[in-house]
Homo-oligomer: 104 residues x 2
Amino acid sequence: MNLLDPLPDARSAERVEALLTRDGMRIERIVSHGQASPPDFWYDQAEGEWVVLLSGAAQLRFADESAPRLLAPGDWIDIAPHRRHRVDWTHPTAPTVWLAVFYR
Amino acid sequence: MNLLDPLPDARSAERVEALLTRDGMRIERIVSHGQASPPDFWYDQAEGEWVVLLSGAAQLRFADESAPRLLAPGDWIDIAPHRRHRVDWTHPTAPTVWLAVFYR
């Protein structure tokens, strides 16, 4: 199985697929295509999330930082539980592929 | 932080770096550069390992399969605890980057 090929068409909505689910952890592939979080929406997750951008580009914003972060392929970040964040932007004309590991 | 840039020089030995360690799980980046498992060596791990190849190329062999698997970028596999496997080959002239999630 391959993370990058084939890719689902995410132009109408983000596509999320669980690749592995085990007690206390879950690995997901998320494909975005131009989506962003709704205005004023912030993720506030009970789980930790380690996430890497594999292709495309995205802008991620944290409530506790003044400037958004621009993510390129290979960039990863560990998001602590309840650290508020949102996706400001994903590449409008190419798929953006994320690999996320959620953990308790 | 980026998984692909910079890369450590792994020509003399495989380079393993823990990116996240939490109770019952661990995320590692492994960089190979031509290494293979020693002859007749088999990994026999107590933990499960979900692993994706991010760049380069590798040949992975399972004791319970007759043919090795050739892995290309994006290829992922979930290796159950105690499923015996070995790395037959990694690309001799380019770095091979693995992202591995070990879990109990």
